[in-house]
Every structure is written in C-alpha cells, then in structure tokens.
C-alpha cells in the first residue's frame, strides 16, 4: 500500500475521505440498510416457509417451474374431462374453459419477456431438473393480465365445482375434481403481490403478547439498571481509596463482565435449578422463597432470577466506569468542603454527584440500551417462560422471525425495538448534551 501512495499522492483531506470510506460503507451495508430493509419487510406478508410468499413483491410474478409442471398435468386432465363429458350438456362449458385457459397460456408462452425463459424452464421440468436459479424460475407478468387470468381460473373453478356437486356419476366426478385441482395449482403458481401495508402493525399493536413482552422488557431494564447503578455507585465509593489487593478486585470485577452472557446464563440456570441449584436451596433455607423450584417455575420468580443474574454480571462493570469518574474529581474540592464544615453526605450530594453526572449518564445510556435489547440471558435462562412471563421483545421477535419463519410479522417487532431504542437514545442524548461528541472532533 505504501508504494501505491508514493505514486499518486493524495492530499490530506482526500486521504481522510479514503480512510473513513471502508468503515462507512460497512456501517451502511450492515446496519443502516438492514434497518431500512426491516421497515420494508414489515409491510409484507412475507414467510420463509411458504413458497408463494417467500419474497417481497409489489407486483405479480409467476413461478414458471411450478406453472410449466402443472400445465402439463392440467392439459392431460382437461382432455380426460372433455372425453368423459362428450355429448352431455356440460361439454360446451368445459370446452369453453379449455379454450379460455389455453388462450391465456398462449399469451404467456409467446410474450416477449417470458417466451424464452418459459422454454428453458419447461425443458428443465420435462427432464426432471430442479430450477434453482431464482432469476430463471420467477418471471414478471403484468398485474392486469394476472388478474384476468386469476378471474378466468376462478370462474372455471365455480363452474366445475357446480358440476361436481350435481353429477351422480362417480367416474365423471373424479375427472372433474382432477381437472379442477390442476386449475387450482395453476392459480397458485401466479404469485400475488404480498404488500399489505400496515396490517402487520395493526395485528401486533393490538395483541396482548406484544404488550406483555414490552412490559417485561421495560420492567427488566428499569429494575436491573437501577440496582446496577445504585450498587455499582456504592461499590465505587467504597473502593475509591488506596488499599492492598486492587488487582484481585479488578479481576473479580472484570471476569463476570468478560464471559459470554450465554455462558453465565447457563451457570445461573444451574444455580437456580429447583433440585440441584445451590442458590435456590439457600434461598429456601433462608425462607426467601417457599420452595426451591419457585425461582424458575413461577413468573415473578423467573423475572427476579433474570434480574439478579444481570445485576451480577454488569454491576461490576458499572462500578468500574463510576470509579474511573470518581478518580477524576479533584481532592481539593473535598478539602475545601470540609473546611466549610460540610458533612460526608453533603459532600456526596453537592460535590460527588454533580461532578459524576456525565459519567453516570453515559454509563446509564449504554447500560439501558444494552438491557433493553436483552436476548441471550433470557433465551438461555428461561426461554421467555414460564408462559411467556419473562419474554422480552427481542426474544419474541426472534421466535416470530426464526421459529415461525415469518419475516413479515417478525419485522414489525424488529421495527418496534428499533423505534424504542431510538427514543431512549434521543432522551439520553438530550440529557447528556452535545458535549459527548464535541471533544471527539479533534482540536482543529
């Protein structure tokens, strides 16, 4: 890279833009664009496990593989049906159906944009080759044409169903049913646009489970961040002095912070276990809980367990941040206060807290955002249970997105998470003020 720079030298600011570019491109591609995409997906009936809805489309498309395959069987079944209704009063209607469908089919196979593509796919289907290339498999067809085609199929379906119900001849009934079933398959290969606007939002914003997940998330966030702050501040105040064994304290503080949340969740699920868990056992002995199994099998017990595990893991980290803030407060302030006769509590109230304000707010911002998106801890420790009583919005979104494979509806919950986090950030940044970034801009 050094050689390249020697040949065409960039001036300082050009180099600057080149240097920030990779980071900005990555951030745009992997965070900003996906958020936009989640918004977009949330307005579609988009399910990974349903072949007719596994992409987002604003216009009609045709699944050519399915269409070519079914058209072959449809032709066979409609011919059989014509043979069996020959000479009866049904014949003209059936022949008319055949003519209409064939007309639509001809339009597809001779149309400018689909003819070649159809020929290739048809050939592959006849040779029993799967069509894996989506660009080949799906073709676009005009909305008007598809709607007419679907109307024609539906009209034919109505007629055939009518005959099916009237006829008493069993063989004829089977022939009608076969032909009609193939028509239904043709219909399904015409993929409707799955844009549904805000319907998904309507569903989730009126659903009790969403609100209970939101309540669980808010409750968890407020309670655990509150205890982390209070205990963390107390610990920071106490250890803000010279003493022997700082290294041991630092290690004790850092190890819970450094291990994966999923691993600590596994550890706590053992400690809380109703039969072998030591914490559950001691709590029962001490009379905190009526039975050792309460901690994981009741809603409030499980919520308490999650909060305790979270406070254990992140309170030390909070203490560390606050201790660093405490150490920047000048000693002379306290000495002056003592001369003026201020007591310990007054010193804390009028010196420590105001001087620590920005450190506290920054620590609170990051902890609140972190707690609000809680996933691993709950997913591993309780799985959201019992009976969804500890399910956070992230856990619920994960269930809808990946367990139900419903990317449209799950994206609604993703968007709700994004908006909530944006709101929390805006409130905190207003409180902290713009000085958070001012000092990062460099002195120029």
């Amino acid at each position: 890279m050094g050689d390249k720079k020697k040949r065409f030298q960039l001036n300082e600011s050009q180099l600057g833009y080149v240097m920030v570019m990779p980071a900005l491109i990555l951030i745009f591609a992997i965070t900003l664009w996906p958020v936009g995409q989640s918004f977009w997906n949330s307005m579609f009936d988009y399910r990974l496990n349903d072949p007719t809805r596994n992409q987002t489309t604003l216009s009609y498309t045709i699944d050519l593989e399915r269409y070519a395959d079914n058209y072959f069987y449809y032709e066979r079944d409609i011919e059989t049906l014509i043979d069996s209704v020959e000479g009866t009063e049904m014949e003209p209607t059936v022949r008319e159906i055949e003519a209409t469908i064939e007309e639509f089919h001809e339009q597809i196979v001779t149309s400018d944009n689909l003819a070649e593509q159809y020929a290739v796919v048809d050939e592959m289907v006849m040779n029993f080759q799967p069509v894996n290339d989506d660009d080949l498999k799906y073709g676009s067809i005009s909305n008007e044409f598809s709607e007419n085609y679907i109307d024609a199929i539906e009209a034919a379906d109505a007629e055939l169903t009518n005959y099916f119900e009237q006829t008493e001849d069993e063989e004829l009934a089977t022939a009608i049913a076969d032909a009609n079933a193939q028509l239904g398959q043709l219909d399904r290969s015409l993929i409707r646009p799955n844009f549904i606007g805000l319907a998904n939002y309507g569903k989730y914003l009126t659903e009790a489970r969403t609100w209970s997940a939101m309540w669980n998330t808010v409750f968890f966030t407020v309670v655990s961040v509150f205890f982390e702050l209070v205990i963390g501040l107390a610990v920071a105040l106490v250890i803000n002095r010279a003493f022997i064994g700082r290294g041991a304290v630092r290690a004790a503080v850092l190890i819970p912070w450094a291990i994966p949340t999923a691993v600590s969740a596994m550890m706590w699920s053992y400690l809380y276990d109703g039969q072998s868990g030591i914490v559950a056992h001691y709590f029962e002995q001490l009379g905190f809980i009526s039975d050792a199994s309460v901690l994981l099998s009741t809603g409030s017990g499980a919520m308490f367990s999650i909060i305790l595990a979270d406070v254990w893991k992140t309170m030390p980290y909070m203490a560390l941040l606050l201790l660093a803030g405490l150490q920047t407060i000048s000693e002379s302030l306290y000495e002056a206060a003592e001369v003026d006769g201020a007591g310990k509590f007054q010193q804390f109230l009028y010196i420590t807290l105001p001087m620590l304000k920005s450190a506290i707010l920054v620590a609170l911002l990051f902890r609140t955002l972190d707690a609000f998106r809680v996933f691993d801890l709950i997913y591993v420790l309780t799985g959201g249970g019992p009976a969804n009583s500890t399910e956070s919005v992230s856990v619920y979104a994960y269930q809808v997105l990946f367990a139900q494979q419903n990317f449209g509806e799950g994206s609604v919950l993703s968007v709700i998470m994004f908006l909530s986090v944006a709101l929390i950030s805006i409130i905190f940044i207003k409180l902290i003020g713009s000085d958070l970034f001012e000092d990062k801009k460099g002195s120029k």
Partner: protein, 273 residues
C-alpha cells in the same frame, strides 16, 4: 486517595469478591464431583474428585471445535475491525476532513442499533452470498458491530498523541499516509492493543448472529454450543459445569493478563480527562 483502608473495608472487600466469584467457584466445585453426587446434594466439597464430567463434556459435544471456531471468528474479526477502524479513527481525529461530527454521529448511532432490528435482512444477505455456516458469515456482521466501539476508543487514543510529532514528520517530507503508518500507528500501539482485546471479547461473546447464521454444529461458536448441552430430558449438570469451566479458562487468562489495559479501554470513552 484520602481515605485509609481499615479492617471493615477489607471485610467488605472479601465479601464483595466472594459474592462475585461464588458462581464460578460453585461451578468449578460441581465439575469435579462424580456425576452421581451432583443431584440434590449441597455439599461444597466432594471426597473423591474426578475428571469424569470433563471427559463427558468433550465427548458428548465437539467442545474443542466450538472453541476453535470461536477463536477463528474472533481473531479474524479483531484483525479486520481494527484495520478498518484505525483508518477511520485517524481520519476523524487528525486529518482536515469535513462532516466529522456527522461521521461520528453515524458511528455512535450504529452502536445503538438493536441487533434484533437488523438480524433478518442480514440473515437474507448472508444466505444470498452463500456464507451461512462459514467463518466469514459471522465475521462480516461482527466487524460492523464492533466498528463503533473500536472507532470510538481508538479516536480517544489517537487524540492523545502530540501533534508536534506529525508536524516534524511532515517537515521531513513524509506523506500523510506514511505519517499514519510510521509515526501514529506505532505510538498508538498500546491503545490499538487495548481496543483489540475489547473487540475480541465482544466477538467471542456474541450470541444472536451465531445462533441464526451458523446453525450447523460444525460451525457453532462457544456461547451457542454451550447452550445446547441442556437440550435433553435430564440436564447433565456435570457436563455443563465442566464445559463452562473449560470455555471460561481462556477468558480468565486474557482478563488476568490484560486487566489494566481492559480497564483503560472501557473507561477511556466515558470519562473526560
């Protein structure tokens, strides 16, 4: 440092350390018990310690493979993220570019994005690129999630380097990029190293992307792999505690060796000096 540490202080300190370390202690004590002694038994110490649970832990699931995957993914992430982030942090702190505030604002905003809000499009993207069940499938999202943290901390460190060094390099005829490579980067090495440790730990701990993107057992990382020990009818606490001890050891070693650096890195962004 005006307060003196008295006896009560050390008692408080011992209790604090005991409480934070107790889960690890108990998990370790369980892992060396014979599996039959674990169920419904609250004795602290076993009379006949055994390594049986450790054997079970590495035999029932490919624990060392999970650890290898975690090491590979976290190392790749660290190297790539630090490269990209140090370029950006240098440009933002030392070079005369416009929109510094906007760039840092975007970086900070990206740090706040909840992962659940971006997981499904990234899942589609990674599937589309054919990168599911591969190291790169995780490294690409991990680089991006760790960029804000890395840029933020590196910017703090770069700013502390005196400007005079740059000026004299310029006078000696160095190009801006040479200045960065030969003067600033080596001087910032301790800061870069600190950032690297934090990025490594963040990548090592990530769960949601690892759970969804690398669902094949051969590509799982430690946090996901460990959480699967319990998916049976009876929960093998012996295996789980032994596996926990094994996967925690590398992290404990890193923390013990680099604790001062980690503290410096964690507190550099939040406290103004």
């Amino acid at each position: 440092m005006r307060k003196k540490a008295g006896i009560w202080f050390y008692i408080f300190l011992s209790i604090f350390i005991f409480v934070t370390m107790f889960p690890f202690l108990w998990v370790f004590l369980t892992s060396i018990k014979p599996p039959a002694e674990i169920f419904n038994n609250f004795n602290w110490f076993t009379t006949n310690p055994t390594g049986q649970s450790y054997l079970n832990a590495i035999q029932t699931r490919p624990l060392f493979l999970y650890m290898w995957n975690s090491i590979a993914v976290s190392t790749l992430t660290t190297v790539l993220a630090i490269s990209v982030a140090s370029l950006a942090a240098y440009a933002v702190t030392r070079l005369p570019i416009k929109f510094k505030g906007t760039i840092l604002g975007i970086v900070l905003a990206a740090a706040m994005f909840p992962q659940i809000a971006i997981i499904s499009p990234i899942f589609n993207l990674i599937s589309g690129l054919g990168l599911r069940n591969s190291y790169m499938g995780l490294v690409i999202p991990y680089i991006t999630i760790s960029l804000p943290l890395a840029i933020w901390i590196l910017a703090t460190f770069f700013k502390k380097i005196p400007y005079e060094l740059e000026e004299s390099a310029k006078l000696d005829g160095a190009t801006p990029f040479q200045t960065f490579r030969k003067i600033i980067f080596p001087l910032a090495a301790p800061g870069v190293f600190t950032t690297a440790i934090l990025v490594f730990i963040a990548a090592w701990n990530e769960f949601l992307f690892a759970l969804t993107i690398n669902s094949d057992d051969n590509w799982r990382t430690v946090p996901v792999g460990l959480s699967l020990y319990q998916s049976q009818y009876t929960i093998p606490w012996g295996d789980i505690t032994a596996a926990t001890v094994l996967v925690t050891i590398p992290i404990v070693i890193i923390v013990l060796i680099f604790q001062r650096r980690i503290v410096a890195g964690l507190t550099s962004g939040s406290v103004k000096e």
